[in-house]
């Protein structure tokens, strides 16, 4: 009841006038689905909904739209919400309210996304497991843990397996911490997309197609992703063939991609361990597709890659991206690849220091700038630049992301 004691004063503070915070227990059983649905709807601010030991068989998505509610289970292998027989809704559990904590349970076999939050402020995903039990399959849901258009997102000690897009996906959000989590057997392990201020650290991304992706895409309400730190992670043995439906952005990610930065501004990649990624360990690239959006910046602006630890890699470049790179870089593909795409005015003159790509790694780290022109997959120089020392330099690091709900860090 430790959590109850914490939650109750908070609730009184936040919603004076409502009744005392309550603990609502829902146990597995014949009517559990209805009881749980009702508990989530009827919850009052400050309440905690407890999930007991066992499996809950659900045929429809669950949703929570009340602020200051916690949903807590007995652990990610003990309290299991199974959506194997789901008939409706686009996700297993949807949260649309603020100051919500989801902790200690699993979501299995959701037909769409696993757990989504839309428009939430202070949403915490802690000690959860989201998994498609049949392993990698293009029929699996897209995202495991999926906060979108949210603010102050904490993802801590979460495990995601089998997502046909990204295991942990944070989209169009602001203020993000993803840490201590495990993403494996997904297409993308962890993906931060069109988001502002993210710290991704102490995670393990392994046996995905690509480990950690930092993307920015056009034609979206929030774009211009920036101020992102990816550090102290392990992105290793990303050796699952890409099983995303071809229409998905991540369908282009080649098997064996360690960390990929596409577009975005001010991205810092450091102190990560990269090993056995068969295409390349780190790829910095422009958005490769045509688009119609005057407000979109398609090239990465200010990327700083330093002090990472590189093991074996680049020995089997995969797919169209792998082919394009290795055609110019040769094999094995270097540890770090920059496509070198530059905007034409910059190609004609120079790139401001804060917009450049900097690499500062220990001796023996291999690097290539393929020097592609604009968005065309067409190098303007047939001599890719492999002189890593020419890219030395640094950028000021963004301040650590602090979240109001994260008092422990």
């Amino acid at each position: 009841m430790r959590t109850f004691l914490v939650a109750a004063p908070l609730a009184v503070l936040l919603s004076a006038g409502t009744a005392f915070a309550a603990d609502i227990a829902v146990r597995p059983g014949p009517n559990a689905a209805e009881k749980l649905t009702e508990a989530l709807i009827d919850a009052k601010q400050g309440d905690t909904i407890w999930l007991g030991f066992g499996r809950y068989e659900l045929t429809d998505g669950l949703s929570l739209d009340v602020d200051d509610v916690s949903v807590r289970g007995m652990g990610p292998d003990s309290s299991i919400l199974s959506f194997k027989n789901q008939e409706g809704s686009g996700e297993g559990l949807l949260v649309t309210s603020d100051r919500v904590v989801l902790e200690g349970f699993a979501v299995e076999d959701a037909k769409g996304d696993g757990i989504k939050s839309k428009g939430s402020d202070q949403i915490t995903f802690s000690n959860l497991r989201v998994e498609w039990m049949n392993g990698p399959d293009e029929k699996n849901g897209a995202y495991g843990v999926y906060p979108v258009s949210s603010k102050n997102v904490l993802i801590d000690h979460v495990t995601v397996r089998g997502a046909s897009d990204a295991g942990i996906y944070v989209g169009q959000s602001d203020g993000i911490v993803v840490r201590n989590s495990l993403a494996e057997y997904n297409v993308a392990g962890i993906e931060i997309e069109n988001s502002f201020r993210a710290d991704v650290y102490k995670n393990i991304a392994r046996h995905n197609t690509g480990g950690i992706l930092i993307f920015d895409l056009p034609n979206l309400p929030q774009q211009g992703g920036h101020d992102i730190r990816v550090f102290d992670n392990e992105s290793v043995e990303n050796d699952t063939p890409n099983f995303a439906p071809k229409g998905n952005t991540v369908a282009m990610v080649p098997m064996g991609m360690g960390i990929m930065v596409m577009a975005n501004r001010n991205v810092h990649v450091f102190n990560n361990r990269l090993d056995k990624n068969a295409t390349t360990h780190v790829l910095v690239a422009a958005y490769p597709n045509d688009y119609d959006d005057d407000n979109y910046m398609f090239v990465p602006r200010g990327v700083y890659v330093h002090d990472n630890d590189y093991g074996e890699g680049g020995y089997a470049p995969d797919g169209e991206v792998g082919d394009t790179i290795s055609k110019y870089s040769g094999k094995p593909v270097p540890d770090i690849v920059w496509d070198g795409v530059t905007r034409i005015p910059e190609w004609l003159s120079w790139t401001a220091p804060e917009n450049r790509v900097y690499v500062d790694e220990k001796e023996g780290t291999s690097f290539v700038n393929i020097k592609m022109l604009s968005q065309l997959i067409l190098p303007w120089s047939t001599t890719p630049d492999t002189d890593i020392s020419a890219y030395k330099g640094s950028l000021p690091e963004p301040a650590p992301v602090e979240l109001p709900q994260d008092k422990t860090s």
Binding site: T37, T96, G112, Q222, K246
Partner: protein, 359 residues
């Protein structure tokens, strides 16, 4: 307005009508109850429910209405009623749902005839949804009719029901019908996180309707009738948009398709809606072609995208994710995500034709 002359007739009948309309919201206090009543009959919207009259006898001040293009709900036959408190007409707005006053109820009943070819015979009432306008906004409640058809009971957690009917081709269709839970109501009925009515927009109400239950004289324009009878204020004389009936083949394909998308998709797919993050905006007034889906790449469609790259590829319905998603009945692929388990092939055909005409 086209029907000013008929509206004049309504004025002549006005005095009689006033007597039929209720004196105040107090006639239906359940609308404003803090918790929705457990039984539909408690509202008093319909008389003789317990005697099996269903919704056939609306009480005074409960006005039936109709929409040009409705939301598809698995072929359910839907009957809509509104109660607007006396003396407090809804305010006209050009593009959004009308601004209804506190004490308003929007009442929508879903029913299935045994055979779609005979929509008035052997009709089984399934559920009645009530949207009530309180001081703090709209509240949603769904009532499920009993087997005897003598009462409908509140279902906060929603309900799945195995239903079947004979379709327009004489084939038997069996499926799992979902009564939405309270949060799912908001899944569609939300603008900036607040529950909002979808259907009663001026443009979608701007059509003829026979108010025969209350007033003889044949069909007349609903907006005029509402204005003449105190349900609506601020109706302009001219310039009111008119939504197409998507089944009306005399209307332009572009108008029919965009109206269908507006009604069936744009409650989520708009900048203020639950699907804002998709960047796909299907409101009738959206002019940015990429935002409308033309050569727009999906962002988080997952397997909803399949092998296709764009939401709408002009001239190529088979490559358009939109067609894939409105055709599918698989959760995670189908759109809308909620509120349907079946595909209306007529809609798919119409949208395919429309995409073929785009270039």
């Amino acid at each position: 307005m086209q029907f000013r002359q008929m509206a004049g007739l309504a004025v002549a009948l006005g005095a009689m009508l006033i007597a039929l309309l209720p004196a105040s919201a107090a006639d239906y206090p359940a609308i404003l109850a803090e918790k929705p009543p457990k039984l539909l009959s408690e509202y008093g919207f319909f008389q003789d429910i317990e005697k099996g009259a269903g919704i056939s006898k609306p009480s005074a001040g409960i006005v039936e209405y109709d929409l040009a293009t409705p939301l598809f709900s698995d072929f359910a036959v839907k009957t809509r009623h509104v109660h607007v408190p006396e003396g407090q007409p809804a305010k006209y707005t050009a593009s959004e749902a009308l601004e209804f006053p506190i004490g308003t109820a929007l009442i929508k009943t879903f029913a299935f005839p045994a055979d779609l070819r005979h929509p008035k015979d052997n009709v089984r009432l399934i559920e009645t949804r009530v949207l009530s306008r309180h001081e703090d906004g709209w509240h949603a409640a769904a009532y499920v009719w009993n087997d005897e058809q003598t009462e409908a009971v509140l279902k906060i957690a929603g309900k799945r029901m195995d239903l079947s009917f004979v379709d327009d081709k004489g084939e038997k269709v069996s499926f799992s019908y979902a009564v939405p839970n309270k949060n799912q109501c908001k899944g569609c009925h939300a603008i900036n996180g607040k529950i909002t009515p979808i259907g009663p927009k001026a443009r979608n109400l701007n059509r003829d309707f026979d108010h025969g239950a209350i007033q003889a004289g044949g069909p007349m324009n609903q907006l005029s009738w509402w204005a003449e009878n105190g349900l609506l204020a601020g109706l302009p004389d001219t310039g009111v948009e008119k939504a197409a009936d998507w089944l009306d083949e005399s209307a332009s394909l572009d108008e029919r398709a965009r109206t269908w998308l507006d009604v069936n998709c744009a409650h989520c797919h708009r900048p203020e809606g639950p699907a804002s993050n998709s960047g796909l905006f299907l409101t009738r007034g959206e002019e940015n072609p990429v935002a409308r889906g033309i050569m727009k790449r999906p962002v988080a469609a997952g397997r909803g995208a399949g092998d296709d790259q764009f939401d709408i590829v002009p001239g190529h319905p088979d490559q358009s994710i939109l067609i894939r998603r409105v055709s599918s009945t698989e959760p995670g692929v189908m759109m809308p995500e909620l509120g349907r388990a079946l595909t209306d092939k007529r809609v798919v055909d119409m949208l395919r034709q429309w995409i073929l005409t785009l270039h």
